[in-house]
Subunit: 125 residues, 2 copies
Amino acid sequence: MKVEHKIWLADRGKAFGKGPFMIMKAVMMTGSLRQAAISLGMSYTKAYQTIRTCEAHLPFKLIETQTGGALGGGSYITPQGKDLMEAFEGFQMAADLVLDDLYQVHLGPLFEPMVLLKEDACVHD
Amino acid sequence: MKVEHKIWLADRGKAFGKGPFMIMKAVMMTGSLRQAAISLGMSYTKAYQTIRTCEAHLPFKLIETQTGGALGGGSYITPQGKDLMEAFEGFQMAADLVLDDLYQVHLGPLFEPMVLLKEDACVHD
């Protein structure tokens, strides 16, 4: 038995979560929202709408798109978008650890009593 | 901005979460899975299948049903089911508190910098 979770930010609607995080990570790697969507097996429209929906609930933009130019345009993560990704990743990692600990305290004894009994037995060996 | 989450137990499939918890709470109040389903605006089949799916992933039963008898039968929560409900509720409450704290540490500064600035300003008043 293990604990699983899904965590997201909300402000009168979903503002950020693992989905948009993954899209932004792929944009960082590919330099393009279109390539990012392909690399995630997602339609461009779905990736675009996911990011735009978040931005409608956030006080800053996540991704800027440059069209044309010498390099043919592309997408990049805004500085505030990078800050949010970093903060969200730290938050997720801390949440994973803390929820695993809380699971052990509250629910572990219901599912792994045999392990505890064995350890008790060893003390008296 | 606030953090929202969904937490569940899994063991090669969803084993327990807020949905089954609510059904069990309603069974405790009504003494009947059928009445519990009605009070939650859910079909009996959906409530029954939710509980049975959990039980298939748990090492104990959650709800026992008595048919017939002087009182016309009904459903009740098993002792292990009660232990799980109590443990899950404690786990959820602890998780709520801890995730709010982690949100403040990791993400709060991105969304409420003005509050911090105001507090800083007061120090120098």
